[in-house]
């Protein structure tokens, strides 16, 4: 009886194990990217067109920009598609990949409760607005996860001359998670936060939050793409990866990005054509 039981168990294992291996042979590349590109639905819109044209499937691992760069450094991705130019240039300078290409931009916005207890609505100077939040000690939820948005936010605090380290745990709250989770937290505590417009437009649990500050040129949000270096990572699928990079910055790919709209609003504005700088 035991034997019979074991045979059945082994058979079941073998069947599921075989099924698990079925998907492996397909032609694919791995792209390390950010939660903002995934959560906004851009990839779901873009990738089918590329796969249809080239037969190459794209596996997107969407994490924060900091983690995405780490994945690429450790050779676990073929292409890096993120949004923090200084970090990207550092990545290229260290010989991990490149050249880097501009892909598209949108902007960051400061969102907060309708009642706006810090009184920042409509301010044009984002640093001044954030200083106001700090001086009124209104809850501000930070990503706190070394992502592109988090890095941008810290730059803005620096401009505002606010020491967030000292305030952490009081009015300044680091969620240590992705953009969506951070928006959920901000909606939950009716606090302020900085978000990219793409995620905001596609985000459904806004609660009482709305856009309060936008339009400052410091809120510009540039996305860049680059192939991981074959020299640094011999396992990189350089040819397939390059064809993805080429397509994204091609006329075709750029039009595809421009075509992506949510509720009639364009989420990303293609601006490829500049290399390196």
């Amino acid at each position: 009886m035991l034997k019979r039981f074991m045979t059945a168990a082994a058979g079941l294992l073998l069947a599921t194990g075989l099924a698990a291996g079925a998907h492996a042979a397909d032609k694919f590349i791995t792209v390390a990217s950010t939660t903002s590109t995934q959560n906004s639905g851009l990839f779901e819109h873009m990738l089918p067109a590329f796969t249809k044209k080239t037969g190459i499937a794209v596996h997107v691992v969407a994490v924060g920009t900091g983690q995405a760069i780490k994945l690429a450094e450790k050779c676990d991705a073929d292409v890096l598609f993120v949004h923090h130019k200084p970090s990207e240039l550092k990545f290229v300078a260290a010989g991990y990949g490149g050249p880097r290409h501009d892909v598209m931009y949108n902007d960051f916005v400061v969102v907060g409760p309708k009642s706006d207890p810090a009184g920042i609505k409509g301010m044009k100077d984002v640093a001044a607005a954030m200083a106001e939040i700090a001086s009124k000690k209104q809850p501000f939820v930070s990503r706190g996860d070394n992502s592109g948005t988090n890095k941008k936010e810290l730059e803005l605090w620096k401009d505002a001359k606010v020491d967030t380290k000292a305030a952490s745990g009081t009015w300044y709250r680091e969620s240590g998670s992705g953009m969506g989770a951070t928006l959920n937290t901000a909606a939950g505590m009716n606090g302020y936060t900085l978000t990219d417009r793409g995620t905001w437009l596609s985000f459904k649990n806004r609660g009482d939050l709305q856009i309060l500050v936008e339009g400052d040129k410091r809120l510009f949000n540039q996305y860049g793409i680059m192939l991981v270096s074959e020299k640094h990572c011999p396992s990189v699928k350089a040819e397939l990866g390059q064809s993805f990079v080429d397509w994204v910055i091609s006329k075709d790919g750029q039009k595809n990005i421009a075509d992506y709209k949510l509720g009639g609003e364009q989420l990303f504005f293609p601006n490829a054509g500049k290399t390196g700088s």
């Binding site: 035991l2 599921t16 998907h23």
Partner: protein, 234 residues
Amino acid sequence: MNDLLQAFGQALRLLTSLDASLLEIIALSLRVSLTAVGLAALFGLPLGAAIALFRFPGRRTAVVLLNAMMGLPPVVVGLVIYLLLSRSGPLGVLGLLFTPTAMIVAQFVLVLPIVAALTRQSMEDLWHEYEEQLRSLGSTPARAIPTLLWDGRFTLLTAILAGFGRASAEVGAVMIVGGNIDHVTRMMTTAIALETSKGDLPLALGLGFVLLTLTIAVNGAAELVRRWSKGWTG
């Protein structure tokens, strides 16, 4: 309350529409978790029984460690397996990162201690009860293992179900080693995490209800097997 009702409606819609991408996610979840649990049972049952029946130096420490490992944090297991499977890690050449196989390995590591530790306790109790009798029949601990495993099969089934519970519910490990890649490594729990981060709470909770239904179905199937085998052995 409104959100909960909405989620419940969402779950019903999901279950009745049998959306292709949902079926894909369900199939992957079952494949990964059941394979991990199956492997954990294959290794965990004999391992637990051996620790219960054999006397060796450091056995007490082994028991404590095994019990403690039931509390392995999924995130930490995910991270360690990521570092092992990473292209720049020792097992990188296998190219297993961000595949279902990587997720199976992670869940196997999480489930093995649960199955082994619960087996160890149940086998030890049975051995205390039947040791004299088995020894008088000329049995040694090694030869008693299959007998005792069979005798304790219903308790062991519960141990395996506890392991399945851990596997099907965890998100920390599979998120890191699987990458939550659409159509490749997206499971029920990682899909729920994703929808939550999109702020689509009704859909996230709806998926949660679907996962719960799945868990109940698996446990129901196990109960049927138990009844069937009980009737069968008389």
